[in-house]
Symmetry: C2
Subunit: 465 residues, 2 copies
């Protein structure tokens, strides 16, 4: 049964199938019919476009039954593929035999009328059958593959860093607790603390917020590695850009500095966007037409620009000199807001730009201190339309400098014993960055809510399906 | 800096580099020297083999310093690559300039002597610098890519199913709770139950044990999908084959029956094993020599066999007729043990074999009931040396049959409302299977403990690093 031709093959290699008998299976997207003729738009999920199926009462034994099928019924169609040079679609299949695999029902919720994305989230099990979500999740799959392809072709080792972690090592955000303790009756020690000795791992454990520290250990063995896995934030922020569970890509490169890091980030973004544009032109065209009118131009612009570079200090001066009135005033030392980031990339540079060398106070402990003693070798990559899409840094590879910074921030050396040992046994200059995969998919598709680029999103108060 | 030549490139494309000046960076694996000469085995993690670096006191300014470097120091070497037809290695680099990037220390724990795998688990941040683990984790990366490549080339949509789940839907095993409640003071309702309304998701939530049910929803939109992500079992089993956190691959195919499912599983296994054997011949040779003497023969055998097929009922008869004395006696209705599985594949079939059509009582609720009313359309794939490596089934697509089975097992329809709706709005025959990624890596490498194929393993009582 699984030997049917995919609709994608019909479109991509139509010369092989024209005037031949083929069998195609899929779901009825639309159906219109008279007493003598009918037309089905069939979609099998392999391709954005539908296949037009022509029903002829004189040729099709069960014409009457087929002509009444509810939307989303699944069928197998055998017939001849005919070119239709006069019509909108390049070809159609003239059905000779149609087998009903599964009858849908007249109360199928995804009827032809337009639905809001909010409504479609309530039927997350069915929404991938709609045009928009079919496109989004096909692009998500192709983009994920492009990321693997990019790194594997460059000999990066794909590293599965742990999801459950015994430490809040990076301090990057609020964490979810993971436990097998009986919550009805949490065991306590004599001092009244929670007795984790009875918990599964024998200690407090959480869901990871980043695989970076573990990734560094592997980069110092394999030279170049990347992670691609789920990460978690238990932040109570009900915005269009935050999810509690999301996927992140974190490459880490040894014998490398911040410049190498930026080059890698730029190459990767251009590669993935180009790959998706090549593999999914129909989807991108759809997004450009119906979701975000400027999408195609923006993506082409990113692929063809040399990304700009500016230090944080220069960026602050540029923003202060501009006539633009910002909601948050700009001065040296502040964390740049999205409004500042977008102004920099959209108005000042008019292309993607790396902002580098941020004040150490607003960045993480592991970033390499610059010679000025005030800034660290960090970089954020800003892109038009969204602001920050990538954040990275050169890591502090000098043991004493790292210990000093940890002490300033009251981090305990014993919690980081193995991370510190990496600096003792053959450290090298190394660097890396993090790319939120959903943010990339939002950027490539123009979708504006993170809930609409995750198959079954988890957000504050929401873990259905 | 990141522009150095990788050691892998020197080996794979040596003709491009012979008699030319190259710069290579990596870590010192071994070093021996006299007053006049020295030899470093340099490894950069890109390749299993080391690069021999020749130190000549007359040519190298800092010869004395280099000759005393502790193991695992990181260096950059510039010199000329020379063929060495008389020596064990095909070429060596005659060093002209060596820069020390990071000095290691004389107490570096991975000295040349052999260490037990048990000991190396206690230095999980350093063990990828050893021969065995360098090989294991490079193979893990390449095998992961092979899986993506296999499915993407066949137009399967990679689907990220949720990690945090609001339901114990599959009932496949003990689950970890995920919570942001204050464990010191768990809020209770008036009836004394835990008040999940204050928890992050507003209800009880857990870490997923399988993405299958969500995957089915996507297969009924995209036809063919696969998942590849972490799954969790909170089972207190301290064995060499169980981890609390592991990665799983779960394809799901529509318009497909059990036969298609088995064909897909066989094709996938052969593809991934062949791919790794082609891409990592040095690693496989090492495993065959030092980890598991029969490995290469076994892998070749799997790639070149047509997998056998036998029903559970026939398999039970074959086992009963055999002279073999089993620890667990065989009779119709039991779950096959590893000893039975291995006897079937190793002694009776002498090749991989699918066992199909198991008694419904020992299989999950979603498996399709056969016409005999007693067995379900399940399949387990057994391979020599390990037993079960893949478990799958055709899914029950008939709404009434599914409801009946759920009712027999006291499963509540309201908990599965969306899963049941998939059977109402255009169901098709569909099937899928699960492959534990770590079990596959153990099979390909010959490593016998799951803790040694996961970078930072999580098992009962163990969540360090």
């Amino acid at each position: 049964m699984n030997k049917d031709v995919l609709v994608k093959s019909l479109y991509r290699d139509s010369h092989e199938f024209i005037n031949k008998q083929v069998t195609v299976s899929g779901w009825v997207r639309t159906l219109r019919s008279s007493n003598a003729f009918g037309f089905i738009e069939l979609n099998d999920g392999s391709f954005f476009k539908n296949l037009q199926v022509v029903l002829d009462a004189t040729k099709l034994e069960n014409f009457k039954e087929i002509a009444k099928l509810p939307i989303s019924s699944s069928i197998s169609v055998t017939g001849t593929l005919i070119e239709t040079p006069e019509a909108k679609q390049p070809f159609e299949i003239q059905a000779e035999v149609i087998t009903i695999e599964g009858m849908s029902s007249s109360d199928y919720p995804l009827q032809k009328k337009r639905h809001t994305f909010e409504y479609l989230r309530t039927i997350a099990h069915l929404r991938p059958r709609s045009n928009a979500f079919s496109a989004v999740f096909r692009v998500r799959s192709v983009a994920a593959y492009a990321i693997h392809k990019f790194f594997q072709e460059r000999n990066f080792v794909y590293t599965h860093t742990p999801i459950i972690t015994g430490s809040d090592a990076e301090g990057a955000g609020e964490m979810f607790k993971v436990t097998t303790l009986d919550l009805h009756n949490v065991p306590k020690t004599e001092e009244g603390k929670i007795d984790y000795s009875n918990d599964f791992f024998g200690k407090e454990s959480n869901l990871t917020v980043s695989g970076q520290l573990n990734g560094e250990a592997y980069a110092l063995a394999f030279r170049n590695i990347y992670t691609f896995g789920p990460t978690f934030r238990a932040e109570n922020s009900n915005t269009a850009r935050h999810a509690a569970e999301f996927w992140m890509i974190e490459p880490e490169i040894s014998f490398a500095d911040l410049k190498d890091d930026m080059e890698l980030a730029e190459d990767m973004l251009k590669y993935v966007i180009s790959y998706v544009m090549n593999e999914c032109p129909e989807e991108i065209e759809f997004f450009n037409q119906f979701i975000d009118k400027g999408l195609l131009e923006r993506l082409n612009h990113v692929v063809n620009s040399d990304f700009g570079k500016v230090t944080y200090t220069e960026a602050v001066e540029l923003l202060q000199k501009s006539d633009k009135k910002f909601e948050y005033p700009v001065k040296w030392g502040i964390d740049l807001q999205t409004e500042h980031e977008r102004y920099l990339t959209e108005e000042i540079f008019k292309r993607p730009v790396f902002v580098t060398d941020y004040p150490k106070e607003i960045k993480a402990f592991y970033m390499r201190l610059n010679d000025d003693g005030k800034t660290v070798a960090a970089m954020d990559c800003l892109v038009p339309g969204i602001g920050e899409i990538i954040g990275g840094s050169q890591r502090e590879e000098r043991l004493e400098a790292l210990k000093k910074r940890m002490s300033e921030l009251n981090l305990h050396e014993e919690d980081y014993w193995w991370y510190l040992e990496l600096r003792k046994y053959g450290e090298t200059p190394h660097a890396g960055f993090g790319l939120g995969f959903e943010r990339l998919i939002m950027y490539i598709t123009g979708m504006s809510n993170i809930r609409d680029v995750i198959p079954f999103p988890r957000t504050t108060g929401q873990a259905d399906f």
